[in-house]
């Protein structure tokens, strides 16, 4: 059979998430131009993201650091209501059945936040709390400057080895619920070794939302310290 038209093979050679990455790149430039540091918080459900954010945002306010948060969940605005109690601007992103945030959703909520009077240019920190899920969010760039992966001491020291792609895509690893470490015989050296195996060179920050341990160190890292 002879072909009369063009070829039947069409070369694309493009990233599947090219569109997301374009939106994310525009967001990153917007954050940079506004002088705000954006961080994308990824972890399993129940690792203590919201509790740590509450503590961090309260501490930020004490230190005169202006912070706002966009928090994502499949349903409810419980997290936004908890964080709003810190007095900072907070918006809930309800993702429905979607298991992760995409750059377009962040862009839409940043627009809505600015329309409501909270300008990026007036912020030091924008905290993007992703849907609790240790797999899917790792594929999606949200335009953040810092990706934070949280791991609670009750989850097991080998979790970085089980979810290597997520830890490998992080900039900072945060240990949460440090006040419970004794109760579960948590081995911090083992977790640091696991992080070094799949995410070599990433700083590991040990925290406790209950005692406030590590919160200042994390705040400094988010503000553009050594990350």
């Amino acid at each position: 059979m002879t072909s009369v038209g063009g070829p039947r093979i069409v070369e694309l050679r493009r990233g599947v998430l090219e569109k997301n990455d374009r939106v994310a790149a525009a967001l990153r430039e917007r954050f940079r131009a506004s002088g705000v540091r954006a961080s994308n918080w990824v972890s399993s459900p129940g690792s203590g993201k919201t509790a740590l954010l509450e503590r961090l945002m309260a501490r930020a306010a004490q230190r005169g650091v202006s912070a706002a948060a966009l928090v994502a969940d499949c349903a409810t605005d419980n997290d936004a209501r908890r964080l709003a109690a810190t007095g900072a601007p907070v918006r809930q992103i309800v993702t429905g059945s979607l298991c992760h945030l995409e750059a377009e959703m962040v862009a839409a909520h940043v627009d809505a936040m600015e329309s409501a009077g909270t300008l990026l240019a007036d912020l030091d920190l924008l905290l993007l709390e992703n849907v609790g899920n240790l797999v899917c969010p790792s594929s999606y760039d949200l335009g953040e400057q810092v990706r934070v992966v949280l791991l609670s001491v009750t989850e097991g020291e080998d979790k970085p080895l089980k979810y290597p792609q997520t830890f490998a895509s992080s900039d900072v690893v945060v240990l949460t619920k440090g006040d419970l470490a004794g109760a579960v015989d948590f081995d911090e050296r083992a977790v640091r070794h696991a992080v070094a195996t799949v995410a070599p060179g990433r700083p590991v920050v040990a925290t406790s939302a209950r005692t406030g341990a590590g919160v200042d160190v994390l705040l400094d890292a988010l503000l553009g310290g050594q990350t």
Binding site: G6, R8, I9, R14, L17, V135, P164, A196, T197, P200
Partner: protein
């Protein structure tokens, strides 16, 4: 399980490139570090493409393993665990493959019609 979102992004990338021409197959590269499970992607492919111009198109997934350059061994190696060289145990940050999540090419059912 974000593979439905990924499958939709693949459909949209192909439709952008070939318009409404019928597609026989789509070849994608999925790296071990991409966060996408090829099995799950294959599972959702038929239902995602149903009713689109990719209806009935086959999905061909090239699974790309993680490889890193080991400085001590002075060669590219495929770690069994994380970024650890399977030969000498050195941890490398010089990733050479595994992050891919690409649409490589589409094969049309009929010869391509030049697009305006």
């Amino acid at each position: 399980m974000h593979e439905v979102s990924i499958a939709r992004a693949i459909v949209s990338a192909v439709v952008d490139a070939v318009g409404d021409q019928a597609v026989e197959s789509v070849e994608v590269a999925v790296g071990a570090l991409s966060g996408v499970a090829p099995v799950a992607l294959e599972f959702v492919w038929d239902v995602t493409t149903s009713g689109t111009t990719l209806d009935g198109a086959a999905l061909v997934v090239d699974r790309v393993p993680t490889t890193v350059f080991c400085r001590r061994c002075d060669r590219v190696v495929a770690p069994d665990l994380g970024f650890v060289c399977p030969t000498c145990g050195e941890i490398s940050t010089d990733v050479r493959s595994g992050r891919e999540l690409d649409v490589r090419r589409a094969r049309l059912r009929e010869p391509a019609v030049p697009r305006p």
